[in-house]
Point group: D2
Chain length 353, copies 4
């Protein structure tokens, strides 16, 4: 299989670190550049000592990001940058012929208006929104194969969309009234020196934030609306909990058909089970839990897997679906590598197991 040269722009944050790890050990991709303005000039292992034992670490040094250099060296460029900044690199890199896999929010939406509403500035490159593909492989695999610009999904959106999209597409749940309650590890806040994310401020603490209008709502609702064929508005509450990595999402959904303990529950359960089996039985990175098992982030951290379990509650008539993922892997860098594997024609699990 032909290998490709890849680069990471903005490699000194937490998702950058996981990208480095995955790409250093990837069987087909060759990591040839890592950039970081504040760490330019430093060897990779000075910023991330854990990579010091990797043979490639000797030759990799952070550089200032330079589009000309990058476009000559590389076939695929990962952008692990803040929104707004990512687009500034994506435009010239695409023009220079690179494939771009963007981990920011810049190309996840189809609507520049919604982008402005949620991100509070004009979209920096609205003409690219038509060309980008939402990099959720389980639903956009064919489009990813043909795309030059992948907008890799956010961490919360992945944990919400994977459990919800199959049910919505199958018409098994109502598009209205969806509630998503999520708990995230602190790496989700990024590697920024801010008081709020100090050890002592996060340890022995749990707190909600961004209530009621978190930015990730925009991409979640756009994708749900596409699936439902009708505009979908959801309730979403993120919470910060004292773990490094992991997101646990609990979803409250209304089945389209009425059921109760006495009637309909078994039949509905069969339909839901069949729907999830059809969607995910052959997916390498979605794990449907069986029996009494419920998702637990410790079973997925460090992997590209999203665990899903569900329960019908005949007392309330609701369907409860729970998911667990590693916010930095399936919720960010692992999923981006999965997209790369697809668009490069490599086995989808390359470097991910």
């Amino acid at each position: 299989m032909k290998s490709k040269n890849v680069a990471i722009v903005g490699a000194s944050g937490y998702s950058g670190e996981v990208l480095v790890q995955l790409l250093l050990n990837h069987p087909h991709a060759e990591l040839v550049a890592v950039t970081s303005r504040q760490n330019a000039g430093q060897p990779l292992a000075q910023v991330f000592p854990k990579f010091a034992s990797h043979p490639k670490s000797k030759t990799l040094r952070f550089t200032d990001p330079n589009v000309d250099v990058l476009s000559k060296q590389t076939d695929v460029v990962f952008l692990a940058l803040p929104h707004g900044v990512a687009a500034e690199f994506a435009v010239p890199l695409l023009a220079a012929g690179c494939v771009v896999i963007d981990l920011s929010a810049d190309f996840r939406l189809k609507s520049a208006e919604v982008y402005k509403e949620f991100y509070a500035h004009d979209h920096p490159a609205p003409e690219l929104l038509k060309k980008s593909v939402y990099g959720l492989p389980e639903f956009y695999r064919e489009e990813i194969k043909k795309s030059l610009l992948i907008a890799s999904p956010g961490c919360y959106p992945t944990s919400i969309l994977l459990p919800t999209l199959p049910l919505l597409k199958a018409g098994l749940i109502k598009p209205a009234g969806i509630i998503a309650d999520s708990m995230s590890g602190v790496s989700g806040a990024g590697r920024k020196a801010e008081l709020d994310y100090l050890f002592v401020e996060c340890n022995e603490s749990v707190r909600p934030y961004g209530v009621p209008k978190h930015r990730h709502l925009s991409e979640i609702e756009e994708q749900l609306s596409f699936a439902a064929g009708t505009p979908v508005t959801i309730q979403f509450t993120p919470h910060l909990i004292p773990v490094n990595r992991g997101i646990l999402t609990t979803l409250y959904l209304a089945p389209s058909e009425h059921f109760s303990a006495a009637a309909g529950a078994a039949k509905l359960a069969e339909k839901i089970s069949a729907c999830y089996q059809a969607a995910y039985a052959n997916e390498p990175f979605v794990r449907l839990l069986e029996g009494k098992a419920l998702p637990d982030t410790k079973n997925v951290v460090g992997t590209n897997v999203c665990e899903i379990a569900w329960r019908l509650d005949p007392r309330t008539g609701r369907l409860i679906v729970m998911s667990a993922e590693d916010n930095l892997v399936k919720g960010a860098s692992g999923q981006a590598v999965q997209s790369m594997n697809i668009l490069c024609g490599w086995p989808e699990t390359s470097g991910l197991v």
Copy 2:
């Protein structure tokens, strides 16, 4: 103020430990006995080294629980026992003239049938259900004053009822469709040697459990039904997170009157604010957060305070209410002491600040 002799039956668990701490330092109560079958004979400080510097620790030694001895020594007995076992002590202690404050679930429900449904055995003393008072002082203060048997509320119920009851009583929210999503520290599981609660199994993990029918639903729904004047069924999902103490609950509620960003939101907000002010402005142990502040367990752990904040979401028409408490204090032992203060005629905050 006349002091009283108090005892704790089942003092070697986590809520027992907090009871010991509160009662050792209480200005009016004299802790005269602590019992524990497995620790009988051991000095208090051997089981809980942190109390070794307290002057009273020298004379306190765990004993086997004995109703005759307890009833002679003490005016008030706290039961920190598993459900089912608590009733076995409550009956003879009450008969012997003691006031009983029970931290178990045995006397929280008015219905013996519901008890059986949720606890899977016949109620051991159904005749006492009429006499017991649900020990949530903010709503049953007058009844507590006159009662000899207090059923101190569960930790999750306290975190759900305090934010919900005022709104339901005022008719500001619909009784149907309530969802409560809670995250609890591991002390909530008790001090039991079980694999599931080992450090390595809980650390770097978050997981739901008891979905969809947790036992605490029974008392939550009974109290909500009393407040609404109509049967209330709710959705409740508890999660285990890696902190020692603290519960954060996020509630999804439907306001009785429609509102949107354009219309009605400001007026509804005023009503909710007024409702909470009327209920809690003078309550020493409920803190209504203002401005941008949201609850955080680290601000309440070690105190008897429950923090509450709320947001109207004009996008969904919902009211989101969030609460934070220490599951072992306001969610258990602190609230039990608050009830003791009330029924003994002492200032309600005695020994709690």
Copy 3:
């Protein structure tokens, strides 16, 4: 007992926060001012929501530190400032007649030369070094009573000096070759927005730092030298561990007299036990552990107690002494309040149990 007005300069850090907590609840001290340059103008409860339920929190607001205002308002001023800055306030406050209790390193040493060697700048007020008293009450109680300037000890020094000084004074250990190995919670690093102290950087991590010449060595060695009557140089290695609060120190000491399993061990053990009993049996804040018990930070966090245990090792001829304290209480703010109690003539345990 006559109460006194007290102020805290630099009250927005972690030791400032604990000082606020202790002084808000102190029976004889009245907290009348809290200063902080970056938080000036904000109510106390905005910076520390946990104090919002305290009655005094309504009237306390952070101010810019102003010596004139402070000296008119207050009898005792606590300085919770970085070294170098503390002296700038201490000089005029003392001149204005205030008692100053300084939690920084500025007045802990008697030698301005050693200060310069370890803190890398000239001492800002060397003339005050003669007047200051090292605020370790167990050893300087009489001097504290008469002093106007207390230099409250550092957290590591307290955990090392309390176990070592009695043995050294009694001649039971050799002054040479002492090794102190300490583990500290992250609050010891202060409330500063730095990458190194982010949750994700500290959680699931343990690391040494400041090897081999940590600044605290200067005051530790000065105090040990005073006790030994000869210059003492020690080995000290601090480690950062993922807890909020607590220091555990393990000391490796050489008994002055030889012993072995066969001979001398029992007699030496008696002498050590008698030495510690003489030093600490009546001290309210030192707890000598008995039997098989070993120190554990969880038994002292939130208290002003230092736990001590020791073992003779006949295999190596060494004495191992272990201590545990809360770095923010006995290691900082609690000890400072203890000194205040002593110099104000109040019971030494006031506000500390």
Copy 4:
């Protein structure tokens, strides 16, 4: 390369879990059996949900350990059992022609007397002590190649021996007076349902244990004595800290030659550096840190690497050496796999990077 069939006896503990992970993904070893008395009959993924996505997990099921079955199926058997029990399996498995890699302490010592002194029972198979090889590849690589019984080192011993052995062999440090101070994550205590290792008992806590005579001393001292050519007795204090995985060891050593800031330090530093370079520059799993870097467990957890850094202290004349490893990988299962790679003639890093 010819693959081999391997089995794990006692696979349901924490080192068993890591062995499963490493062997499931090993390029040359085929994991054909996992045994566990309490989990016999359960599929692998029921006990360890994290392996559910691995293709081999479908066919692996825990069985009762049976020597006949194991010896027919497998070439190499890993024993992850308590000491005493391990020998019961090793004897018949060796007799049946299997290679045995034992992670317990049963075959680490050459002296059955020392075994009895430290483990409090007669050695169950003293005749095998001559045949076993201490599985520390950096020092016994040639012996491992020819051995049928590998005694894989303990976690603490590995963290102490790797930094110490080269210096001792080179005569750069004195054999007397060595002190090792270690901090370990809770997985080191094993997967046992005991109160002491509950989340709430370990979180926000640090405590020493096993002072002054921990069992691991026996193998540490035996290996140090072999290297020094003279009996060596050391001081060793383990501490339990709230992390899942990782050991940080700080060693206090006495250089053989005197040095001071003024004289000899630079020359001695060169010798130490040269010694470590000679020992480890080409070792894939020992990382010598450079410049200001100090070991941090978070840089080695999940890898088979041991980080080492050192400092000369001219104030005390001591050499401080610090190491970090993952107690379950380089300290247990990873090192065992490293030995397997060596004895099977596979690249030593197979399945370990």
